[in-house]
């Protein structure tokens, strides 16, 4: 059960730029939602608000009825463990192997190392990176890095996947593969919010779409 509810949400970054204005929307449990819009429309900001990486300047963001805007700092880590996050800039760690990158969320969640290793390999297999287990992320191609980032987001089997441009660097074959992967997750009940320019994903998944324009909802 993970419902995300935004009502009257605005975000103004320090410096005075309004990235989002008066957004009201609900993502139901098990839904797959695509967020589209031009560059700078506020897609990433929307996802960051959902994961409590940014706090709204007005309005409220509720995850399972819990108001994220007023959540105390020590509650945030436990909220975030419900999410799998694919970052637009990947945020991979270059000082350790592909495998150890995947172990990070599991270590954080306090998983048994052996059980964790099994899950990490399963996740790598899903994104076709098992043969790169021992490689350093810096030696991976852009697309491989992106797939690693997706694997890290799903390795701890989160209830919600928040993916920011997950297919940005992938060719259409791989993008379609990732699209199918998301569809699979969605089928087993994972709520998915995707921010993307990729029209291919929209065609493939035929999801509900949210279109942003200069920080406002367009429908």
């Amino acid at each position: 059960m993970t419902q995300i509810m935004l009502s009257g949400v605005s975000k103004r970054y320090p410096g005075g730029h309004d990235a989002l204005s008066d957004i009201t929307l609900t993502v139901e449990t098990g839904e797959l939602v695509l967020v589209t819009g031009h560059s700078g429309a506020g897609k990433s900001t929307l996802l960051k608000l959902m994961a409590a990486i940014e706090r709204p300047t007005a309005g409220s963001v509720l995850v399972n009825g819990q108001n994220i805007g007023t959540l105390r700092a020590r509650g945030i880590p436990f909220l975030r463990r419900n999410f799998g996050l694919v970052f637009q800039d990947h945020k991979l760690l270059f000082d350790r192997s592909v495998f150890e990158n995947l172990m990070l969320p599991l270590d954080i969640g306090g998983f048994d190392r052996r059980e964790g290793a099994r899950r990490a390999r399963a996740a790598l297999d899903k994104v076709n990176l098992l043969h790169k287990e021992k490689a350093r992320p810096i030696t991976l191609s852009g697309g491989e890095q992106q797939r690693l980032c997706i694997a890290r987001a799903i390795v701890h089997r989160p209830a919600v996947l928040l993916a920011d441009e997950p297919t940005g660097n992938l060719d259409s074959d791989y993008a379609a593969g990732i699209g199918r992967l998301f569809a699979e997750f969605n089928q087993v009940g994972v709520t998915i919010v995707l921010a993307t320019h990729d029209t291919l994903l929209a065609e493939l998944l035929a999801p509900r779409q949210i279109v942003l324009r200069d920080g406002r909802l367009q429908s």
């Binding site: 990486i53 700092a73 954080i108 306090g110 048994d112």
Partner: protein
């Protein structure tokens, strides 16, 4: 519970790996911490030894009454009776001048001097222990005895002990202040070391925090690192002090032989050593905690 234990184990192992990853920097750090701790430790050791010697040599302050050279056996009898009836005394004993000379001769190095004397220059004396050994009471007694007939001079034997005690208590304050200043230095050293570590690992910290790590989880390896560095520094300080004592005691040996005194300084006893180590660990941990707190709280969402 097992997962919790193994998480601590991994954090500790991670801290050790970080120590080993930069051996030179680690070594220098530990030496700096060691020196910072060795100074107050050595000072404390010297004080403790001085205190030990002071209490060894004079368990109870006494008064000496030196009699005038012309005092006769009858005079001595009269004085003895007055002492016997004096309410303020715990005990007294008479030391005839012949016995005093014998004692002097038996003292190492002075035998020859005494043997060379044409006649006994020492006076007869009473050695008196008071019931109340506070310095005010002793001073009153001393004045009283000095006024008695045939008493040439009276003085409090423990004056030097009291002076030494005074010096030692001043010394304790000095040690405390020095320790406080150097404790601050130790905290500053670990604070800065951890700050540099955080800078090289800011990506890891940022990502870990983004994907749900608690501050406690992120802090843990740094805190272990601080505590381990403190412990290593504490052990270094102990060894430095031990080395210093070894050299010092060697220098002291001829002097000690000359005076026939057991002038050897001993190191901290076990419980003090454990305390010192514990303090070093806590200070290292605290410096790391300050550093990592400051960094983490700057990363909360706004």
């Amino acid at each position: 519970m097992r997962a919790w234990g193994s998480a601590h184990y991994r954090a500790c192992a991670g801290a050790l790996r970080r120590l080993a990853a930069t051996p030179l920097a680690t070594l220098l750090n530990i030496v700096v911490i060691g020196i910072a701790l060795a100074l107050p430790m050595a000072f404390y050791v010297v004080l403790e030894n001085a205190r030990g010697m002071a209490s060894d040599y004079s368990p109870q302050p006494e008064l000496s009454l030196f009699l005038a050279p012309e005092a006769s056996a009858a005079d001595i009898k009269v004085l003895e009776l007055r002492l016997k009836n004096h309410a303020g005394l715990a005990s007294y004993r008479f030391v005839p001048k012949a016995q005093a000379l014998e004692q002097l001769k038996s003292r190492a190095g002075l035998g020859d001097v005494a043997a060379g004397l044409p006649q006994n220059p020492l006076p007869d004396a009473f050695i008196v222990a008071a019931r109340d050994s506070s310095s005010a009471a002793l001073e009153t007694l001393r004045a009283e005895f000095a006024a008695w007939p045939k008493v040439a001079e009276a003085h409090v034997d423990s004056d030097w002990v009291r002076r030494l005690d005074g010096l030692i208590s001043i010394g304790r304050y000095a040690v405390l202040m020095l320790a406080a200043v150097l404790a601050f230095a130790l905290v500053a050293i670990t604070f800065n070391t951890i700050r540099l570590q955080i800078l090289t690992q800011r990506d890891e910290i940022e990502v870990a925090k983004l994907i749900g790590a608690t501050d406690g989880w992120i802090q843990r390896p740094f805190l272990y690192f601080g505590a381990l560095a403190g412990a290593a520094g504490g052990i270094t300080a102990w060894l430095l002090t031990a080395a210093g004592l070894l050299v010092f005691n060697n220098q002291l040996k001829p002097l000690a032989a000359l005076y026939g005194l057991p002038l050897q300084l001993s190191h901290l006893n076990w419980s003090d050593s454990v305390y010192a180590l514990a303090i070093a660990v806590v200070l290292g941990w605290f410096g790391a905690w300050l550093s990592v707190r400051r960094h983490l709280s700057a990363q909360n969402p706004r």
